[in-house]
């Protein structure tokens, strides 16, 4: 019995001494290091249940408002909000697929359809501001103070250079609806699609001394660097409301939609504290708030 055991041990020693096993041992150690790094990484991440993925439109994200809201919310809650900045259209699409837990966008029509089709529940009106039409200082097309639809008709007739976002953003959706109201299909050399975010698109309009539709908040934050002026504002049709909607967990039963966390943030942002932060945002730097609250 004992001799068999010793024989076996000798055999193992013999195998160990052969170079082949040493080689595989080295590779094995490398793999261990790799695995260790993996687990190290995974442990660094916050536990999944505490993450709330927020699909938010770029105009909100770029304004910087979210940073304030999120840091205050995270102080008092166990959840962490991860904002994914995409266009309104993309945010809604991600909400439909269940890739995020809640969406914060500005396109009433699409928001209502989102709820109607059962993708979202618990919608709240959070804040609003207005769109404005900007143009070069001389206003060659002469649209100052005209009604929006009228202004669009003239711009198209004159073929005045107009810069569009050309993406799936809330601003672009609004712009296209205005063209529709004016019964115009904008096309031609004068109509340029930037495909970029608002601020960069404003810069393009500035360079080209063109006309452009933008939300007032973004205009306020970049006004210093632009030579463009507000030519049309105040029209009812330029109302720009932002809404927040939780993604319906029942639509995606097999995915871990964090409904609780989403609802918590919705409550916060539509409650006294959240609304307070929004009301104050931008007052100091720009003399007026970038977003207005309902309450």
């Amino acid at each position: 019995m004992l001799s068999k055991f010793i024989g076996g041990k000798n055999k193992i020693i013999k195998i160990l001494k052969s170079g082949k096993v040493n080689f595989y041992i080295t590779l094995f150690i490398c793999l261990l290091v790799i695995l260790f790094l993996c687990t190290f990484l995974l442990s660094c991440e916050k536990i999944a249940e505490k993450r709330v993925l927020l699909g938010v439109t770029t105009s909100i994200y770029d304004s910087g408002l979210l940073s304030n809201l999120i840091s205050v919310f995270e102080d008092r809650s166990e959840y962490s909000i991860l904002p994914i900045a995409v266009g309104t259209g993309e945010a809604i699409s991600m909400g439909e697929k269940g890739l995020v837990d809640l969406i914060f966008v500005h396109s009433r029509q699409d928001e209502e359809r989102f709820i109607k089709e059962g993708f979202g529940i618990n919608r709240k009106d959070v804040m609003y501001n207005n769109f404005v039409i900007l143009g070069p200082e001389g206003d060659p097309a002469g649209i100052k103070n005209l009604a929006v639809v009228e202004a669009f008709k003239i711009l198209s007739k004159n073929e005045s250079v107009f810069i569009s976002r050309g993406d799936n953003s809330g601003t672009n959706i609004k712009e296209m609806s205005l063209w529709k109201e004016a019964d115009v299909i904008p096309q031609g050399n004068w109509y340029i699609k930037s495909g970029q975010e608002m601020i960069l698109t404003l810069k393009i309009a500035d360079e080209k001394k063109a006309y452009i539709l933008t939300d007032k908040a973004t205009f306020l934050t970049s006004a210093d660097s632009l030579s463009l002026k507000i030519l049309v504002e105040g029209d009812e049709i330029l109302f720009n409301p932002y809404g927040i909607i939780a993604v319906n967990p029942l639509k995606h039963k097999d995915m871990n939609i964090n409904f609780k966390g989403a609802s918590g943030f919705i409550e916060f942002i539509s409650g006294k504290d959240g609304q307070g932060i929004i009301k104050d945002f931008g007052l100091k730097d720009y003399g007026q708030p970038l977003f207005y609250t309902y309450f």
Binding site: G19, I34, L42, Q196
Partner: protein
């Protein structure tokens, strides 16, 4: 021109006054790319040496694949990983989308082929005569692997520096899988992009300056090491 100068000033000020934001961005950048390179190194260097010095069926195909992998567009990697790690994807349950882990994985996919590919061509310079000599001295596979790695260490350093350079300078992959979330997945490249988007061009230039400095710094260190190797006379181990 003035704007560049403003940007450089801002960069210097922010770094030396210990600006929290910049440090966090820098830390995430180095953590993500650093771990990606470490991983790729432990995986890629032995693999590169083995591929380069052994004959096996399909060797040419493997090398062609690796060479293709060296220039894969980062945005394609980002998209591919998003499809996998989104909740709707096969690995969605891991919930690693929008985390540094996903970013590290994307950078491993981007950097590893570079490290492996350059290691392969470096080790092929070693020459079969040396390998024959080493074998006749009685090396086993591990000893041979280790000797080859030491002999090609300059080439390997170049591989690591190239891999790291590509990792810290790519934006497509980390943007898609990380979403540029403040304090969590924001790295130098995506932060720069964000600054450009919001029109803060001096901040953008500041970040770019830091990025270039980091890249440049690594290359200087490599060059110094290469230079020193030329004058190796006394090398008692």
């Amino acid at each position: 021109m003035e704007i560049i100068w403003e940007g450089l000033k801002e960069a210097a000020v922010k770094i030396f006054t210990g600006n929290q934001e910049i440090y966090t961005i820098l830390a995430v950048t180095i953590k993500v790319s650093g771990i990606a390179i470490l991983f790729s190194a432990f995986l890629g260097i032995p693999l590169g040496v083995l591929i380069g010095t052994n004959k096996f069926p399909g060797k040419r195909l493997v090398i062609a694949l690796i060479n293709t992998g060296m220039s894969v567009p980062p945005v394609a990697v980002g998209l591919f990983l998003a499809l996998i790690f989104w909740r709707s994807g096969p690995l969605g349950f891991l919930e690693i989308m929008y985390t540094p882990t996903a970013m590290i994985i994307s950078q491993i996919i981007i950097a590893a082929p570079i490290i492996i590919g350059i290691t392969i061509s470096s080790v092929q310079q070693v020459g079969s005569n040396l390998i024959i000599q080493a074998k006749s001295l009685g090396t086993n596979k591990t000893q041979l692997l280790w000797l080859l790695i030491k002999e090609t260490k300059l080439g390997i350093l170049v591989a690591l520096s190239a891999g790291f350079g590509r990792a810290i300078s790519e934006v497509g992959a980390v943007l898609i899988v990380g979403a540029n979330i403040e304090d969590k997945t924001r790295v130098l490249t995506t932060a720069t992009l964000q600054m450009v988007r919001v029109g803060k061009f001096d901040s953008a230039i500041a970040l770019v300056a830091i990025l270039l400095f980091l890249s440049f710094g690594i290359n200087i260190v490599i060059s110094i090491i290469q230079y020193k190797e030329r004058f190796v006379w006394m090398t008692r181990l």
